[in-house]
C-alpha cells in the first residue's frame, strides 16, 4: 500500500478520483463534473480556476476516461469512464479509504481507538 507521505500530491489524486467517481454515474461535460463534485461533496471539494481541465485531459491521455465531441454545429465535449478507468477507480478508492481511516485513527488518538 502507498503511504500518505509517498503520495506526491494527495489533493490532485483526490481530484482525479472525484472526476472518475462522477463519471461512474454516466457521461458528462466538464462543467457538469465541476458542478456535481462541488454539490455532492457539500462544497468540501471544488475545482478552483480551471484545475479541472488539466486533470481531465491527463486522464483522457491515460485512457482512464474517453472524451468525444458531440453535436452537429453545436460542439460539446463529453467524457465517459472507460473499463480501465473503472478498474483504476475501484482500486484507488479502496486505498484512499484505508489511508483516511488510518489518518482519522491517528487524529482521534489511542484513547479513542481503545474505547
Amino acid at each position: 500500500m502507498t503511504t500518505m507521505t509517498q503520495r506526491p500530491n494527495l489533493s490532485k489524486h483526490v481530484n482525479e478520483l472525484l472526476i472518475l467517481a462522477r463519471l461512474r454515474v454516466g457521461p458528462a461535460h466538464g462543467y457538469e463534473i465541476a458542478l456535481a463534485v462541488e454539490r455532492d461533496s457539500n462544497g468540501a471539494f471544488s475545482f478552483q480556476h480551471g484545475t479541472l481541465y488539466p486533470i481531465l485531459h491527463r486522464l483522457e491521455q491515460e485512457r482512464l476516461i474517453r472524451g468525444s465531441w458531440e453535436g452537429e454545429g453545436r460542439k460539446r465535449k463529453t467524457y465517459e469512464l472507460t473499463p480501465k478507468g473503472e478498474a483504476y477507480l475501484k482500486g484507488e478508492a479502496r486505498e484512499v479509504k484505508t489511508l483516511f481511516l488510518n489518518l482519522i485513527r491517528v487524529l482521534e488518538g489511542p484513547a479513542h481507538a481503545l474505547g
Binding site: 461535460h29 466538464g30 462543467y31 465541476a34 458542478l35 462541488e38 471544488s46 475545482f47 478552483q48 480556476h49 480551471g50 484545475t51 479541472l52 481541465y53 488539466p54 485531459h57 491527463r58 491521455q61 454545429g73 453545436r74 460542439k75 460539446r76 465535449k77
Partner: protein, 253 residues
Amino acid sequence: MPSAESVFKDLNARLDLPARRRALLLRELRADFEDLVTTLVAEGLTPDAAQQKAFRLLTPSPDDAGALSGLHRTRYARLVSRYRTARVQVVERVSIGVMAALAVGAPILALAGSSSLPVGTLAVLGLSATLLLANLAWYAFRIVVRDDADADSLAWAGMIQAALLVLTLSAGMLAVSVNAVATLSSWEASGGFTFTQLAATMTRCAETVALTLGLTILGVFGALALLQWHLSARTVEEELRALLSPAFDPEEE
C-alpha cells in the same frame, strides 16, 4: 468583473500551442463556460453571480494554462523540452541536413563521376536540391513532429520551398536530357556512335531522370500536403476568432 471575451483572449495568449490545439481547448472551455452560466441562471443566480462562479470553477489560472499546454504538446516536444531550445534546434537541423544530403546530394555527386554533364551543373543541381529538400523536411518536422506554436504559419514558406524544389529538379532533368542529346549529336557528327555508347548515355540519363523525377513527385506531394495544411489552418483561425468574439453563441457554432 472581466468579460468572458477578455478572459478567453488572455487564456488563448497563455496557451503555448499551435492554433489547432488552442481552438480545440477553447472550444471545450468556452462551450462549458456558456452552458454553466445558463444552468446557474436557470437555477436562480443573477447573470453576474453565475458568470463569477463559472470563472471560478472553469477558467484556468496561468499555472493551469501552462499545465494544459504541456499536456497537449507532442511526445517528442515534451521529451526535448528539458533541453535548451537553441541546442535542440541545431541537432535537429544538422540531422535533417545530413539525411537530405544523403538522400539527394550523394547520388547526384555519384552521377557526376560517370555523367558527361558538366560537374559544375550537377553540383549546383545537387546542392540546390539538397538545401531545398532539407528546408522542406525541416518545416514538415516542425509541423508534424514538434508541432510548434507557430507551425501553422510555416505552410506558405514550405509551399514556396516545395515549388522551388520542383522547378530546380525539372531544370535538372531538362539539362540532363539536353546534354544526352547533345552528346549523341556530337558523336554522330564525328563519325557515329556505337550501341554501347548509346546504351551507356541512355542509362546515365535514365538514372538521373529517375532520381530527379522521384524527388519531384516528393516535392509535389509535399506542396499539396502543405496546401491542405494551410487551408485547414485558415478554418481553425476562423473558429478561434469566433470563439474569442464577444458575441460567441455555442448554438451557432
